[in-house]
Every structure is written in C-alpha cells, then in structure tokens.
Subunit: 324 residues, 2 copies
C-alpha cells in the first residue's frame, strides 16, 4: 500500500486553536479545535494539543505518513520560530518551533496568519501557478503576505508584509498600533465602520445604519444595508475601495505583482469591494503597470482557510528542503 | 599564469554610454566612454561599442578571462532583455541582450539603473553581506531597487521597484508620469527645487535662493545655501527628508529591510538629507520596526557607480548559474 504524506496545520487564535491533517493537494483528512485559554502559558496549550494530535494520528488509516507541522499565529517570527508579545495571548516571547520539536520528530515552521494565507493561496487557492502576488486579509485589521519570485518576503527580521500600517493621511485616524492614518483604520471591518460614522456625521441622507450604535454595527450590517441600496453603506464601500485601491497602487510600485488577492470578512462583500478597489487602483498606477494587475477573491474553501494556510507553509518548506 | 575573470559593465545614458571591464572584487581594469547619439538606432550604438570593446580586450594582459556582460539602461526589462520606449532615446522596443549575443559569446543581462545600483551596493558597496535592503537613487527623479533574501525583486513583469511613484498626497504635485502627488515630485533633485519655490512663496524670510530663477536653481545651489545657514534651504532639506522618511516607513512595512541606502546627486548632501530622513522614518514606523533600519549613503566609489552596478548585475547572474 503506497503511503500518502500529510502535514499538520495549526492556527492559533485568541479564542480557539484549530488544527488538522492535510495532504499535498489540500484535502483535509482530519480536523479539530480546542479552546486556546488565552491566560494560560503556551506550554500548557501545546501539552493539550499534543494529546489531541496523538489521538487523531491513531485514528487515521495506516497509509498516512506524517511529515511536518505548519503554524499560523499572531506576531509569529518565521526566522526564529517564535511568537513575540501576541496581542490577545498572555505569552510574552515563546519559541513555538522548539516546543513542537519536544513532542514531534518532524520539521516545523511558523508565520503570521496573513503570510500563511498567502502561501495557502499559492499552494491550494487563487494564486496557484503564480510567482508574484500579494494577499490582503481584511478582518478586524488589515494583514498582508507578499510573494516575490515564488517566495514569501520575510525581510531582515521576519516581520515583512505589514501593508495595514502604511500611511494614508498625515494625522489621519488613530490606529491601535500607536500611529495615525494607517491603512487598516480605513480598509478593514473596523475601518469601514469608522467610515460609516464619518458619513453619518457629514451627510443628512437617511440610512438604516442610523439605528445602530458603534458597538452594534458590523461590516455585515453595512453589507446588508448596501445590498438594499442604502446610500451611506454604498458610499462607505466606495470610499473603502478608494483608499485601498490608492494604497495597493503603491504596493504594485514596490513589487509589481501579477495579482492582489482579497481574503477575509470584508472580502465576502465581493463586487462591492473589488470593483472600487480595481477602479481606484488603476487610476493610481504608473502607466507601465496599468491593466496588468488582477484583483481577485480568495480561492481557498471558506472555513478551513487558516489550517490550509498553516499546512501550506510547511509543504512549502518541505519543497525547499527537497530542492537543496 | 592563473586567469582572472572579468565582466563588462555598460551604462547607457541619454548623452554618453560608459563601459568598462571589472573584476570580481570591483576593480575597474579598463574604462571608456562613447557618445550615445540618441537619435540613432540601438543597432548602430552597439556596432560602435563592439569595435571599441574588441580594441579594449586586445589591449588587456592575456591573463584576463572575459566571462559576461551587464547593462544598465532606462526602461530595461530584466526578464525579456529589452529596453522599452526609453524616454531619452529614439529606440522603441529593442532586445539588447540579443544584439549583444551576435557580437559576444558570453552571458548578458540588463536591468534599469536603480536596480543595477542596488546589485552594485550588494557586491561592491554599502550592502555587502546584506540580504534585505533598498537602494533609493535621488537624481532628477527617484529610482529604487529592492532586494529581498539576496535577490532583486523584479515582479511579474520585470518592472518592480518604482518607489518614486508611490502617492504622497491625493491631488499633490504634478508628476512627469502623468499622475499627481508622486514621491519623486517631493524627494529628488527636481523635487527639492519645487519645495524651495513653495517655501519662497509661503514665507517672507530672506534667502539667497530668491536671486535664482527656477531654471537656474539646482540641488547643488540649494545645498550650498543650506551649508551657509540659509533658512529656506534648510527648511527645504528638512521637508524633503520628512516626505521621504514618511514614505520609506511604508517601504519598510512592505519588505522590512536591514538598511536603506541613498544614492545619487541629492545623497551627496549627507547629513542634511540623512538626518531628517532617519528621524521622520522612525516617527512613522510600526513599533516592531523601530530602531532596526539603517539609513546609509552609497558605498560605491564616486564616478564609476553606473558601470560597477552593471558589472555587478552579471556577476550576480553568474553566481546564480553556478548555484544551480
């Protein structure tokens, strides 16, 4: 019986840690989730994970061959194997790759969620066959993974790809990072909500969004208003696309990608976001880049994107080892 | 007698074409220059170059071994070997690498001036031993070469690294590229002159620069006024550094370089430009990038930088061939 290689993808979130075994074509062979318990130390989480993973492995048919572990986590440093001061976890600096080595005798690698998403798109999603592309994750914030010539750009310190914190306006909106005017304060689920509040202030147009408090409003409520034709909601999507398109033109000037792939909650709005992003990006491109760069939606199946990305990370590392 | 490998570096400018033989350590063995004759076809220039180069080769001691040709030229496409619609030459689209193959039986490669400068810094200059850095050329315009993990980023089409055309202000200064608010309209020899004129308009401070017309004023005259303490000139350098620092913080967010190297005319102003660039860049960096990124001046010898860069390009290609 021929063996089928599988890797383990682990996605560490503030609330839950999801993990699953995935084969080389992106099929999820088994998948589970445990609570992260954010106040616990990292060692405790990995102790609990180890027990669950060994159980899962025992339950798998014998022809599966476990060959590597990929991890997606906030503030992950690819070079060091560490997670450093993650915003929602009480961990400090902890070397995840070394902890994994104590339990499992296979190669392991770690990177942040947006970088994992980028490798996921390259291996299993919309960027198959591409060597130069950018993935933009539009969640509560804006994350990015930049691939050039088939490799993720990690930079000198392992932290490259923070397009969410490029400057849009000097002294613009206050950002959680401590700066002002960052892209993610405009282009993200929280950014579009801020834009709605600016529009509700500046305009007198009636809108169903006038019935929601800041804390009640989500990007989903803005989307639902927009598809019903709500003027404020439609303007908010257009403005979000305008700012994102303008700044993606700057990203194109840096790395000249074949495509930019939008991923995550706000990307689910489809044309409402991709159409203005494309239009305003084109308006701001240097002539040599015009009509070349595709704006695409994620090609990963909904729901399992995070573990597919984490698994793709280690598949990619295993490919590199083979090439040497 | 052991052989010493040398490559030919060619820099094609609108007025002159400079070329020279350079060894692996960056020593220039021989160097010459001929007029480009911008109205001629490219074939004519390379016909004339061929004769000169064969003469030079005959004059060299026998222990030199000619192994490759690197070319720096405007609007060069590394992937295709072409120069496409160069602004100051009457060439259209022409395949330089194929023309060179007719005359010489060695590998050849071409890229634009700023990319050649970046590889030059990596091989022979300030970026020796670095794998992640950005070179910014501050001439009439602003060019850039971005190196990630030891390789220049060329992008999907070969034209990556156009940081001079990222947006600073929506509806800002008109740029030669057709857009508005591009970085090079603020941070370049022509950009600082525009800034001086804005300051002369908005302020009533006396300044020796009030005696120069727009066409008379150069970045050198602004520099000379600044070192004499001229308030307008000093403010112009500070503002240029502010805008460049702000936008370099965005570049750091993309590729997280170890250093940013300033190159070309305006970089000769030294501290007058590097001090404000560093200060404003730091102010605008995401906390994880603070106090990590060096602002440096070019480490290439003055005068021969262009042919050193072109030669470094082909040395780098030859290294890649060896690694395969």
């Amino acid at each position: 019986m021929s063996k089928i290689d599988i890797t383990l993808g682990i996605d560490i979130g503030g609330t839950n840690t999801v993990f699953g075994f995935i084969d080389k074509t992106g099929n999820i062979v088994a998948e589970e989730s445990i609570p992260t318990h954010s106040s616990e130390e990292a060692e405790m989480l990995f102790g609990r994970l180890h027990i669950k993973i060994e159980e899962m492995l025992k339950g798998l048919p014998e022809n599966y061959n476990f060959v590597g572990i990929g991890v997606g986590a906030p503030n992950a440093n690819y070079y060091k194997g560490t997670v450093e001061q993650p915003p929602n976890l009480n961990w400090g600096v902890v070397n995840i790759v070394e902890i994994l080595k104590k339990y499992f005798d296979v190669p392991a690698a770690i990177t942040n969620d947006a970088n994992a998403a980028a490798i996921g798109e390259m291996k299993f999603g919309a960027a198959k066959g591409m060597k130069d592309f950018i993935v933009i994750t539009l969640g509560t914030g804006l994350g990015s993974g930049i691939v050039a010539d088939g490799d993720l750009i990690y930079g000198a310190d392992g932290f490259a790809g923070e397009v969410g914190h490029v400057n849009v306006f000097i002294d613009g909106r206050q950002c959680g990072c401590g700066k002002k005017g960052c892209l993610e304060t405009y282009a993200s689920a929280s950014g579009i909500r801020r834009t709605v509040f600016e529009l509700l202030c500046n305009s007198i147009a009636p809108s169903s969004l006038r019935d929601l408090s800041f804390n009640q409003m989500t990007s989903k409520s803005i989307y639902e208003a927009a598809i019903k034709g709500d003027e404020i909601a439609l303007k908010a999507f257009d403005y979000t696309g305008k700012i994102l398109g303008l700044k993606l033109a700057d990203s194109v000037a840096h790395t000249s990608p074949e495509a930019i792939i939008l991923f995550g909650g706000l990307a689910n709005a489809g044309d409402l976001i991709t159409v203005p992003v494309k239009r305003y990006m084109e308006e701001n491109l240097l002539p040599i880049f015009k009509n070349k760069v595709k704006i695409m939606l994620s090609g990963l199946p909904q729901g399992n994107t995070a573990i597919l990305g984490a698994s793709a990370l280690i598949w990619n590392e295993l490919d590199k080892i083979k090439k040497r």
